[in-house]
């Protein structure tokens, strides 16, 4: 358009405004989209920070500081089972200048109070050691461990009251002599709980968790599948069935701590079952994950097309035979996926187990579901509550173990679904 008349310019102006308006609207559009994307990345950022915090805190727990001393297995202390004495004299021999009692106590505190078990194990394995002097790597105390790993300061006078300047000096001397070493922390993976961080392990909690989950599976899988089959295949559509359905949906949303109260009132106080036992924990967890299994089971049964039922019925199978021989096998992958997810949920559940006394301090590895025991998430809670600095990294390590188990279970569920999922 080459027309320059004023009327034409006036006619143009609104369209220029409209273009600006459209630009503004498109900018708003882009802003809106960016905000949505930002929300997602913010949420994922939280996830990343959470995982990074746990891993960066927990990795160092898989190493533990050991100190080498030349221990003399003299016949006296072996006969009197006084391995602590043997360790102490070895330390005094290493630092002959240390003489006063207070200093000697500080020196002995470099090593863990449980370091003697290593000596006992060596002697039971090889009784001919009596009378010889051997270099032995012994577990260092948690404060020494923290200092070596750099979690508490090694500047003289700066480390508060955890390690004295003298202790730091001896530690430096030992390090210069190459007798301090970080090794893979087998104690963490193989022993039960302890008040001493350097002796505390996860194995008791892992065994307790396995016992609980086995009980949960034994109780909730048959009950859940039976309920799902009944509601989906047999139940008449009446008020009772509706009541059961509403009930299951509501149970799925009841806070888990309320299930703990139920377990405390009924299983412990009314039925007199033992406190802190994986048996009771497993029963409570079974009630918690029952709705999950039922809901997943019903979805899986619903996905089996009616034509399969009709074909089997047409060939003369009874309704139970139809379900048992045809519908259930086809629905089983879906039911299993739901069950694994329910189990994963049960594995991470903590609050209801606190109610039934699973917070007790338990050193022994449980041998049966009736023995008092901890479970992994409760162990995390207990360690998180402990004041020692060394428990921070061990808590994070316990969380890593817990997340590893959870990840494995979820992966199994995903693979199961991928492999067996069928669409009709």
């Amino acid at each position: 358009m080459t027309d320059n008349s004023p009327t034409a310019a006036a006619a143009h102006r609104p369209s220029l405004d409209a273009a600006a308006h459209v630009r503004r609207r498109y900018a708003a559009e882009r802003r809106f989209k960016a905000i949505g994307l930002g929300a997602i990345f913010l949420a994922l950022g939280f996830l990343a920070i959470l995982l990074w915090t746990i891993v960066s805190n927990g990795l160092s727990a898989f190493m533990q500081t050991y100190i080498r001393v030349d221990v003399r297995f003299d016949a006296e202390s072996v006969a009197g089972e006084d391995y602590q004495g043997a360790i102490k004299s070895a330390l005094y021999a290493r630092f002959p200048a240390v003489e006063s009692r207070g200093e000697r106590r500080e020196l002995a505190a470099l090593l863990s109070s449980g370091a003697d078990t290593a000596l006992r194990r060596m002697l039971t394995a090889d009784p001919s050691l009596v009378g010889t002097t051997k270099p032995v790597w012994l577990v260092a105390s948690d404060d020494v461990d923290m200092a070596i790993k750099g979690h508490i300061s090694r500047q003289p006078g700066a480390s508060g009251n955890r390690l004295t300047d003298r202790q730091l000096g001896w530690l430096g001397e030992l390090e210069a002599a190459g007798t301090v070493e970080k090794r893979f922390n087998t104690i963490l993976l193989s022993s039960g709980d302890s008040r001493e961080p350097e002796l505390a392990g996860l194995w008791g909690a892992v065994v307790g968790s396995v016992f609980s989950l086995v009980i949960t599976l034994i109780v909730s899988f048959p009950l859940g599948v039976a309920t799902a089959v009944y509601l989906e295949e047999f139940a008449p559509k009446n008020r009772w069935t509706a009541l059961i359905e509403v009930n299951i949906n509501n149970l799925a949303a009841v806070p888990s701590v309320v299930f703990g109260l139920l377990g405390l009132a009924i299983f412990l106080n009314f039925l007199g079952m033992p406190r802190s036992a994986p048996l009771v924990g497993g029963l409570v967890l079974a009630l918690i994950c029952l709705p999950t299994i039922i809901i997943a089971g019903r979805a899986a049964l619903k996905a089996v097309p009616p034509s399969i039922r009709e074909a089997a019925l047409g060939l003369g199978a009874s309704r139970l035979q139809v379900v048992n021989d045809h519908v259930l096998p086809l629905a089983m992958p879906g039911i299993m996926t739901g069950t694994i997810l329910g189990m994963a949920h049960a594995l991470g559940e903590t609050a209801p187990l606190l109610m039934i006394g699973m917070v007790a301090f338990i050193v022994d590895i449980p041998a049966s579901p009736l023995d008092p025991s901890a479970v992994l998430p409760v162990q995390v809670y207990l360690w998180a509550d402990s004041p020692e600095r060394a428990f921070v990294e061990r808590t994070s390590a316990a969380i890593m173990a817990l997340l590893l188990f959870l990840g494995a279970m979820n992966l199994a569920a995903i693979l199961l679904r991928k492999k067996f999922e069928r669409r009709w």
Partner: protein, 458 residues
């Protein structure tokens, strides 16, 4: 151990019953299955049922009643000097007797050692009686059922009706669980309300559940006004919703309306991880990282922040419930019919205008339902607040101060050994009742809103 052996023997007997029943059925008809009413295997199942079920019932009864029966018998045989003790001491004595008898602890007195021996012998006798009853019932059932097998016996119908009874019983477990929850909460709460009035509990503003060990001690009566707990719970849940609702809703909108399928396939499971992480992990994260961070940030700004501030717990709880909000909102947004969107595009609206002016208002009821579900989740959440919120019951709306919540108090009141009858422990059940009622009501309302909304567009 003994129980394991007995169960294995019974299991073997049941398996034997199956084989015998099946063999018997085949023998009756000279291996012409057509002459039989039911398949031979059903005859086997039928005999196995007769063999296993009565024995199972006996075993279950033994498991249920052995502890109380043992206790009654041992208590009645206690010597006078022990039997005269007050009830709570008596319970301790009984515990000791049990530990001596079962785990070989050393007894503190001769009377206890005697009682422990008595306990052990009684326990053996009761077990032997139960085992004998179970085994003889199993064998009798096996013999009886096998002798009944004949050509016309409708074993399939019988086995199937037994299985159907089992199916119905299994689906009643859910009902019984609810009844169990309601009854146990109600009974213990009623006992609590005998010592503390309902109005004081619901409307009192001071909470300090210290009960004295002796009644003449100073400050022996605790205060059980739960209002500070309710406000604390609402404060933390409110902060959590302030975090979770915008983030969850915006990410759901992006996922449902903008995201490419491949982006969605990667990001959605990643977001779901947030819901799969155990709450105890969030609690540790809140206490170790978030709370100190907020305190330091507050100090830098010149604010005084409690080290267990409501803000830290609420923030972390909000992160936890983002996936609940986003997946529910995602569902309702995708359920909005495409015709609505297309109508809006046809009038020249941009995508964001369509979303904010058409899709979201249409999806609003469902979103509200989802938010209510998330709120019920936040109110019932326990571990985060136990680990990151305070224990002091402050009546405040300041998110920088420490508050305590209903669930925190339930846990602190019940963890550790205390006598079970004091108002202190019973208060936990009253709090549990309140929690159960509120979450149930929220869920009912939320589900009915969501369902009604779904019907509207189906």
């Amino acid at each position: 151990m003994q129980l394991l052996v007995l169960s294995l023997v019974l299991l073997a007997l049941t398996a034997l019953g199956y084989r015998l029943g099946r063999g018997r059925a085949l023998a009756v008809i000279d291996c012409h299955p057509r002459h039989l009413h039911s398949l031979p295997s059903y005859h086997g199942y039928w005999v196995a049922m007769w063999c296993g079920l009565p024995a199972l019932l006996v075993l279950a009864g033994w498991l249920m009643f052995e502890p109380s029966l043992l206790r009654a018998l041992v208590m009645s045989a206690l010597p006078a000097e022990l039997a005269g003790l007050p009830d709570e001491r008596l319970a301790l004595v009984y515990n000791e007797v049990r530990n001596v008898a079962r785990y070989g602890h050393s007894a503190s007195s001769a009377a206890v050692a005697d009682a422990a021996r008595h306990y052990a012998s009684l326990r053996q006798t009761i077990f032997a009686a139960a085992a004998l009853a179970a085994l003889s019932l199993a064998i009798a059932g096996l013999v009886y059922a096998r002798s009944r097998i004949h050509r016309q016996l409708r074993t399939r119908n019988r086995v199937e009706s037994a299985i159907r009874v089992f199916l119905i019983a299994a689906s009643l477990v859910a009902i019984f669980t609810t009844i169990g929850i309601v009854l146990s909460l109600l009974f213990e709460s009623l006992r609590f309300f005998q010592s503390v009035s309902v109005s004081e509990f619901l409307f009192g503003t001071s909470w300090s559940p210290q009960m004295a060990i002796r009644s003449d001690q100073v400050g022996s009566s605790g205060a059980f006004g739960a209002v500070p707990l309710f406000t604390g719970t609402l404060l933390i849940a409110g902060i959590a919703l302030l975090v979770a609702v915008p983030l969850g809703l915006l990410s759901a909108v992006y996922m449902a309306e903008y995201a490419a399928p491949r982006f969605r396939a990667v990001v959605k499971p990643l977001l779901e991880i947030l819901a799969g992480i155990p709450t105890v992990v969030y609690g540790f994260f809140a206490a170790l990282t978030v709370a100190p961070f907020i305190r330091d940030a507050g100090t830098a700004l010149g604010l005084t922040v409690a080290s267990e501030s409501a803000l830290a717990a609420g923030l972390v709880m909000g992160i936890m419930i983002i996936p609940f909000v986003s997946s529910l909102a995602d569902d309702v947004i995708t359920a909005v019919p495409h015709s609505l969107r297309e109508g809006s595009y046809g009038l020249g609206a941009t995508k964001s205008e369509t979303i904010t002016l058409v899709v979201l208002p249409a999806a609003l009821p469902g979103i509200v339902g989802g938010v209510l579900l998330a709120a019920s989740r936040a109110i019932g959440e326990t571990m985060i607040v136990v680990m990151a919120a305070g224990l002091a019951a402050n009546l405040t709306a300041n998110p920088l101060e420490a508050v305590t919540t209903v669930t925190t108090q339930i846990v602190t009141l019940l963890v550790g050994d205390q006598e079970f009858d004091s108002p202190k422990t019973l208060a936990a059940f009253a709090l549990g009742l309140v929690l159960f009622t509120i979450t149930l009501a929220l869920n009912m309302v939320a589900l009915s809103i969501v369902n009604r909304y779904r019907e509207k567009y189906d």
